[in-house]
Assembly symmetry: C2
Homo-oligomer: 248 residues x 2
Amino acid sequence: MRYLAIISYDGSNYSGYQIQPNQLTIQAVIEAALTKMHKGEPVKITASGRTDAGVHAYGQVIHFDSELDIPESNWKKALNSLLPGDIVVLDVKQVSENFHARFDAIKKTYIYTILNSADANPFEINYCAHVKERLNVDLMNQALQDLIGEHDFTAFCAANSYVKGDKIRTIYHASCQRVNNKVVFSVTGNGFLYNMVRIIVGTLIEIGLGQRPATDIKRIIESKDRTQAGKTAPPQGLYLNAVEYDLN
Amino acid sequence: MRYLAIISYDGSNYSGYQIQPNQLTIQAVIEAALTKMHKGEPVKITASGRTDAGVHAYGQVIHFDSELDIPESNWKKALNSLLPGDIVVLDVKQVSENFHARFDAIKKTYIYTILNSADANPFEINYCAHVKERLNVDLMNQALQDLIGEHDFTAFCAANSYVKGDKIRTIYHASCQRVNNKVVFSVTGNGFLYNMVRIIVGTLIEIGLGQRPATDIKRIIESKDRTQAGKTAPPQGLYLNAVEYDLN
């Protein structure tokens, strides 16, 4: 039987999602919990995509196979009792044996949180980027209009990354808003290139600070040149918010 | 010259406020930053009181002496540039040379945050206690009325603690309220015994769950017996919110 699980995690103490030798990773910890439930028989999980070191998830999706005869509702309880407190299973559902957490994802939403205040906040260092000067959110939202639609996002992809196939992606929604002393950015697309959200945010911050014109996104996309975009924003402000599937 | 500084810290990664050999403590880190500013000459700080391992502060107050000729406004900047991100100086003011951060404190306010939801939250494990069953906040507020005023709080003091003088303290304000999926407790008093807030909260949780009557606080105070009160709530929900002085 194949199961889908929705997972939330605080990435602060992990070397990212993907399993690596001698590193504490989200994948390794979840697989260890599942393997324990299967009395030592190794269980592999497949996620919708990796998250980097320090990046968080509100709704990461994974799938795994199991022959265990456990009611759906008990999976969540059993897994959470074996997982550390900074990784929480929100839901487990049985799915068709053809379901694939990565290949079947049709939309992903990321959130990026910026603490926008003169003072630092000791409670936010793992959870936000910090920008001291006031960001112009109107300019940022204006700039984001040029992100929406189908584009070749080569300029917003880490220069050293290996991407199978083209770098054309479709962005359905992108906006930011001020919430108290934070600026929260949200973006939904059919897929994202390596570091794409963090490069968008790094560029957006420069626009919000008046260091680039709001019209720059269009020019950068057309350049297909990573050096035209802004800095890569730090990982700790990034959250994989949700992954959507057409489960019919 | 004597200076007062208001400090906020995330206590998650520290073995408490007070300096201890071979431990990372708030006091040691702040003294190291000050000593660095004084070119290696040791500078000692005195706080309004200690906080335990894992306990946080929004507004801890310390004092220290310095002969450095720095404008008040530059102290904050200089210290924050030397401190790690999870300890932040919010303000530095010059005070009279008789000022004492502990002896002159006239009121302290603590906040205690409880995540009150069936599901755990991976982002809150260092910042809240977690109670899965729904707490009755009305009953808790009712119970808190008996805390207000001057009482001998022996029953709400860690049994093994050494307290100079009597255990009579005055509570000016105590209340709790539901904020989304959290219950936030706030208490102001002229002083607190060791573990007093955490024992109050532990008792209050049992009242909120219907495991004790709301009238129990009065009975427990009168008993002067630690074993009559509830469990000591965990440190990570506790925040030293503010310390008040009569600076005239």
